[in-house]
């Protein structure tokens, strides 16, 4: 009986999803957006692969993850930020505003079941919206393009978690705020807030930067680099679930204000209790085919001998490109394999252009009271200094074959007509067919 009721709820929520103009608009827009990303990416990839006779060296190390998948699925980041929240808000706000929620609250189903059904309907809706992305992957394969399964699946997981945060925040806003418009403003304000946090926290280190690494965009970036960080998965999942739980609390109309506030604060404490330790989990996997998030296996074996905390003082400003290089090429890899890495961002300015001290550009490493300075952001030079500092013999040879890349000089045949004509026509036809009789 319970499963029958849940099926009924799911059926209702799927019907409501299809009744949502916001969802049809999302479907209509996502095709051309994905198509534009894909077509541009394939053309650029072909150019880099030497289709127009460019330098052969450019084709080396070309990977479909950066070249095709990330730009193609970038459309979904945009959709998850600016379109999908409206779909999620409507799932809650429409029932609130039409009075249907008052009827549902008196039905034999629990609020948790009703919200689970809505979450599942939104998930189904999002997976349907993935169709253009899946079509792009299929087209890429038909062009003879290469795909590496683990990094592709990892990227899809990142996008799934990205949209689950959007959905969690949107349903919580829809439950708390009176009216869909207010909920939309709150959701967009949250997004803007996370962007501001990322901007402010960049290159500052400490708690602020750690917090900024869990914003939806930053979390997705990690997946786009082929990395799966357990902390990001756990924190994202907890935040998304918390959004639905907070929504459940505020949708329970029998609660007094005081009860609501107490339970909401209690919920936030529970989230903190789970999220803070989860954020400190160091487990991470590099699923990129070119192992861009890892040192060579021999280096990793040598670095595994470092057992004590490594302190790094970085005298580089937030907007200095060397800092970005350093964080990507060195720091993130060290953090993944060493037991404890403490990075201190010593620069006080954003650009570094007007730094007055003589130490700008220096990167200091401290291990067991010993210090060494190096200005390089290049992996072999930094590792050499580190081996000397910690007293470990550097490995003689890497023993690994170099990633040669997958250049492909193909044109996006068939993609423009598919994404710019067939997809919009198909969605418009289905939309019209579905809404037939409503006029």
């Amino acid at each position: 009986m319970r499963s029958h009721r849940f099926f009924l709820l799911l059926q209702k929520d799927l019907r409501e999803l299809l009744a949502s103009r916001a969802y049809w608009i999302l479907l209509l827009i996502i095709g051309p957006l994905v198509g534009h990303g894909f077509i541009t990416a394939v053309n650029l990839y072909a150019e880099a692969s030497g289709i127009a006779g460019g330098p052969a060296a450019l084709a080396q190390g070309l990977t479909p993850l950066d070249g095709i998948l990330v730009p193609t699925f970038g459309a979904y980041d945009l959709a998850a930020t600016l379109l999908f929240p409206f779909v999620a808000i409507r799932m809650i706000a429409a029932e609130k505003e039409s009075g249907a929620w008052k009827l549902m609250l008196q039905s034999p189903t629990a609020i948790s079941e009703m919200l689970s059904s809505k979450a599942l309907a939104l998930l189904v809706g999002w997976i349907i919206a993935w169709l253009p992305g899946i079509l792009a992957i299929i087209l890429w394969r038909t062009y003879g393009g290469h795909l590496f399964g683990p990094e592709t699946i990892n990227l899809l997981l990142g996008h799934l978690l990205r949209v689950s945060i959007s959905a969690g925040i949107a349903v919580a806003a829809a439950a708390i705020m009176p009216g869909a418009a207010n909920a939309a403003i709150v959701t967009l304000a949250f997004t803007l807030g996370t962007w501001a946090l990322e901007f402010i926290a960049a290159g500052r280190g400490g708690l602020l930067q750690q917090l900024a690494s869990f914003t939806p965009t930053a979390a997705l970036r990690s997946f786009e680099q082929g990395q799966l960080r357990l902390s990001i998965v756990a924190v994202t999942f907890v935040v998304a679930v918390a959004g639905f739980v907070v929504s459940g609390l505020w949708m329970d109309l029998s609660l007094r204000w005081r009860q609501l506030l107490l339970r909401t604060v209690g919920m936030m404490i529970v989230v903190a209790v789970f999220a803070i330790p989860a954020a400190r989990v160091r487990a991470a996997w590099d699923f990129s085919e070119d192992r861009r998030n890892s040192f060579t296996q021999t280096d990793e074996a040598a670095l595994a001998q470092i057992r004590e905390p490594l302190h790094i003082t970085i005298n580089l400003a937030a907007e200095d490109p060397r800092l970005m290089d350093y964080e990507r090429n060195i720091l993130s890899k060290l953090r993944r394999i060493l037991p404890e890495v403490n990075a201190d961002y010593a620069s006080q300015s954003r650009s570094g252009l007007f730094e007055s001290g003589n130490h700008y550009g220096e990167i200091w490493y401290e291990y067991r009271g010993q210090k060494v300075m190096n200005r390089s952001t290049t992996e072999p030079i930094v590792l050499e200094s580190l081996y000397k500092l910690v007293g470990v013999n550097p490995p003689t040879t890497s023993g690994e074959s170099r990633f040669s890349g997958y250049p492909l000089a193909a044109r996006p045949t068939g993609a423009p007509i598919l994404f710019y004509a067939i997809w919009p026509l198909l969605i418009c036809s289905l939309w019209l067919f579905h809404s037939k009789g409503s006029r």
Binding site: R5, L8, K102, L103, L105, Q106, S107, L253, S254, S438
Partner: protein, 256 residues
């Protein structure tokens, strides 16, 4: 349906219901509710007897809708309780005994009438024929493919009544069951509600048309400025008001 036109009757004249007077189905005791400094309900107490049609009447702003929402557990109360079978019924458990059908809502406006009725029928384990009969009784059967947002006010009201009557809770609270209905529809709906009451379903309805209330209800609760100013049959109320033998309008004006 048209064969069941309601017959006018004096409130409280149903002997089978009077027999149950000693055994209240629900006892509402000391309900208080305020929104910030605006006190809406003040120590509201009354009883609901099994199988009766209890009417809630009062001027605009008396707190009728708020009282229904408080009873259904859809609005938290500041004080008071609802007692069922001698035990307090906490707000989260009210849906086992009560179903409240609000006024002026359009649930799932983008869905069809047939689908909404079918959803309720399946949710509450009713048979498709029960749902079909009800839609027919309320003259909604020809509208089953129409979207809810397209319904007229009266059609939407009849849909809400159909949904309410598909629910199985022993007590059905209906806010303004005749609002938007014409005279003929009012009489037909009244007969349908009486038929459901005869099948031992207790109805508690808020009605602003006093003539309709007098026709339909066995007993009445008069609410004025958030207080219960009278409870009983029309005869009892008119006696309380010092106007024995008067109609409900005179009693209403005297007590509110």
């Amino acid at each position: 349906m048209t064969s069941n036109i309601a017959q006018p009757r004096e409130a409280g004249e149903n002997p089978s219901r009077n027999a149950n007077q000693a055994l209240p189905l629900l006892t509402v005791r000391g309900i208080c509710k305020s929104f910030q400094s605006n006190i809406v309900l003040r120590n509201v107490s009354f009883t609901v007897r099994p199988g009766e049609v209890l009417g809630l009447i009062g001027p605009n702003g008396a707190g009728k809708t708020t009282l229904f929402e408080c009873l259904a557990g859809l609005t938290p109360t500041d004080a008071g309780e609802v007692i069922s079978h001698g035990k307090p019924l906490p707000p989260h458990a009210r849906k086992q005994s009560l179903f409240y059908m609000p006024d002026a809502i359009r649930p799932w406006p983008d869905q069809t009438v047939g689908w909404v009725a079918s959803f309720f029928q399946q949710m509450y384990g009713r048979s498709p024929s029960e749902s079909a009969d009800l839609l027919k009784s309320l003259k909604l059967d020809h509208l089953s493919r129409r979207r809810v947002w397209m319904l007229s006010k009266g059609e939407a009201k009849r849909l809400l009544l159909a949904l309410g009557l598909l629910t199985p809770q022993p007590v059905l609270l209906i806010d303004e069951p005749f609002d938007g209905l014409d005279l003929r529809q009012t009489k037909e709906v009244m007969a349908l509600l009486q038929e459901h009451a005869r099948r031992s379903r207790t109805l508690f309805v808020s009605i602003h048309q006093l003539t309709d209330a007098a026709r339909l209800c066995d007993r009445l609760v008069l609410l004025s400025a958030g207080r219960v100013v009278g409870e009983g049959t029309l005869n009892e109320l008119s006696t309380d008001a010092g106007l024995p033998g008067s109609g409900l309008e005179e009693v209403f004006l005297a007590l509110t």
